[in-house]
């Protein structure tokens, strides 16, 4: 989604000092002022970005609510309260955000669905991370024909309608939760591979890699010990941008009935349930939809904020 913007950002050398080729640099240089490191600078700018900070706080609270909330609420997610079916939000009967057509508490179900949605978001992103880093760093490190072949492959796969392939995977291998993780991750690693390759290309000619090569360290060890750790900062930014995408894909699948299956639930599945009853009980739609929307909104703002913070072009 944000591929081109990311490329323009991460394609440039992070530590390129602006005055390197400038003959007057030494005249204007003021050696006594301590330098600002890229990361410190970025962190500072991120904290000044109010939208991103607020989003991060909201996401943290959301995470707490989703993980611990169901333990403290009086209802079980699959408990059917036959005295209060399709009850609107009410403080008296204890269903604060109402119940669905068979009397299940919407708040508890939404929080439990959130566990699945966030879990899919994180795990699938890790899967794509694993594939993308391995693929991208190998292509970037070996370069030449290997690189060209591997990246041509990525270009080709990139042109394919990826959502359709996820659906295809779900149809073929059934709708097991583990498969959802893998299917989404397996088609979502392309951007990661491209970014990692670009970074690796820049890193592999640096002195510390040359030193490692001179010491006779194996290629595998150089990639895993020296190259990958230096990519993590960039990758972190990309992870925040990938998680909402993945959550969106999972809810999309669940909404179509191709994602998680009863009795498990996710926000997408809940929105689908709610959409069936929305005329008689609109809260069954609005509550999970709001949780999903807030999460995606916040993640996007955090990702945007991190990207802006790391973009040296913006430096005032």
């Amino acid at each position: 989604m944000a591929g081109s913007a990311l490329k323009s950002l991460f394609g440039m050398e992070p530590r390129n000092s602006p005055g390197a080729d400038d003959p007057f640099a030494s005249v204007f240089a003021v050696p006594d002022i301590p330098g600002r490191s890229l990361w410190k600078d970025a962190g500072h700018r991120l904290l000044k970005n109010r939208a991103a900070v607020v989003s991060a706080v909201v996401m943290f609270l959301m995470l707490l609510a989703v993980v611990f909330g169901p333990m403290f609420l009086q209802w079980e997610g699959d408990f059917t309260d036959w005295d209060n079916t399709a009850s609107p939000p009410s403080l008296q009967n204890g269903h604060w955000l109402g119940t669905d057509a068979v009397g299940r508490d919407i708040l508890v179900r939404t929080l439990e669905g959130g566990r699945i949605s966030l879990l899919v978001g994180v795990v699938s992103t890790l899967v794509s991370l694993l594939i993308g880093i391995t693929y991208g760093s190998i292509a970037g490190y070996y370069g030449g024909v290997t690189d060209r072949l591997m990246m041509r492959m990525v270009d080709i796969i990139y042109a394919l309608p990826f959502m359709f392939f996820v659906i295809l995977l779900m149809v073929i291998f059934g709708r097991h939760i583990i498969l959802i993780f893998v299917a989404i991750g397996a088609v979502n690693w392309l951007d990661m591979a491209r970014i990692v390759r670009g970074q690796t290309l820049g890193l592999k000619n640096t002195e510390f890699i040359e030193a490692a090569q001179a010491c006779g360290v194996s290629d595998a060890a150089i990639i895993s010990r020296h190259i990958v750790p230096n990519l993590l900062g960039v990758v972190m930014v990309y992870v925040t941008l990938t998680i909402p995408q993945v959550i969106l894909v999972e809810s999309f699948l669940s909404f179509l009935g191709l994602g998680v299956q009863e009795p498990m639930s996710s926000w997408g599945a809940l929105v689908n349930d709610g959409a069936q009853d929305m005329e008689s009980a609109p809260w069954t739609l609005i509550v999970p939809a709001a949780f999903l929307a807030v999460t995606l909104y916040c993640f996007n703002y955090i990702g945007d904020g991190m990207r802006d913070a790391l973009d040296p072009k913006d430096r005032a």
């Binding site: 042109a159 295809l168 703002y301």
Partner: protein, 315 residues
């Protein structure tokens, strides 16, 4: 000039050749993924007598070796024949595509046009007021448009516009504008938002460039600067986004068609996926894959043609 023209022709030809492996890959992945599936399309029904089963397998060539089936399928695709549907017994996949695609194309095309015009206008509007309250408000709304998925927007729109207000039909399909408004708006929203953000960003960048400063220094009024000098280069990122946008619209149409019960290609695809209708699902994946690949190609060419910084000198 003529040299640059032949350079463009060369570029076009090489890109056209590059499409072949992409399409081949598309067909191959779709085919082998479908054949890896445990259980065939005839398994879900009652256990069939073995003779009938054998007949069915023979009819659909499921009894041949896999590689032979693959090349048979490849041969069919080259002649644009996607074979019969496994579930809709009297239909071929071609007929299903022919009946569903015009509907999907209408909705998608209208959504694209809407998204392009509204998105660029909003983006330019925000860029000209960079860092003002209006700018932040517009971009906040745009972020909302990107974050909130279509399957949340659609039920809410139905609830408001159809159920409570009764302005528009809640779903179904007729070739009339009232049936198109809600699906088109739902489909267009995220694209509008994305194009608005893109336009704003590139417009701001262009407005800070030297030649714009020159234009202003000449004393040109601001609207002339924007329209005559800034608009075209600022549109370049939007043009290159058209490819991914199309892919997004096609994916989105799957959900939109289902929610509004529109008999488009997306509905057939989901139905086929739920019924394990191999040929239909494969046909739709390949069809849409080809559409996306070709559109990406056209967008690339358009971009190269519009961008004066890309020159095709040979040598």
């Amino acid at each position: 000039m003529s040299q640059s023209q032949s350079g463009f022709g060369h570029h076009l030809a090489s890109r056209l050749l590059g499409l072949i492996p992409t399409l081949l890959m598309l067909i191959t992945i779709a085919f082998f993924m479908m054949r890896m599936a445990p259980g065939g399309p005839f398994d879900s029904e009652k256990a069939l007598p073995p003779e009938i089963r054998a007949n069915l397998d023979a009819k659909y060539h499921l009894d041949e070796p896999l590689l032979q089936q693959y090349f048979r399928y490849l041969g069919q695709i080259v002649t644009l024949d996607f074979g019969p549907s496994f579930q809709y017994k009297d239909w071929t996949v071609n007929e299903l595509i022919a009946s569903g695609f015009p509907v999907s194309l209408t909705i998608g095309g209208l959504a694209m046009v809407l998204a392009f015009f509204v998105g660029t206008l909003v983006g330019i509007f925000a860029a000209l007021r960079q860092n003002s309250a209006v700018d932040y408000a517009v971009m906040g709304v745009a972020m909302l448009g990107i974050s909130i998925p279509g399957f949340v927007v659609a039920p809410l729109l139905i609830l408001i516009c159809a159920v409570y207000m009764g302005w528009l039909p809640a779903g179904g399909w007729e070739w009339s504008i009232t049936y198109m408004i809600l699906p088109v708006v739902t489909l267009a929203l995220p694209v509008v938002a994305y194009i608005a953000r893109l336009t704003r960003g590139s417009m701001i960048e262009v407005l800070h460039s030297n030649y714009i400063r020159t234009a202003r220094a000449k004393g040109l009024p601001e609207h002339v600067v924007v329209r005559r000098h800034a608009l075209k280069p600022a549109m370049l990122p939007v043009i290159s986004f058209m490819g991914p946008a199309t892919a997004g619209l096609i994916t989105g149409s799957v959900v939109v068609e289902r929610i509004y019960s529109i008999p488009g290609l997306g509905s057939y695809f989901v139905q086929g996926a739920l019924n394990r209708d191999y040929t239909l699902v494969m046909g739709v994946v390949i069809f849409y894959g080809v559409v996306i690949v070709l559109l990406n190609f056209i967008v690339d060419m358009l971009y190269a043609w519009l961008n004066p910084r890309i020159r095709f000198e040979e040598g």
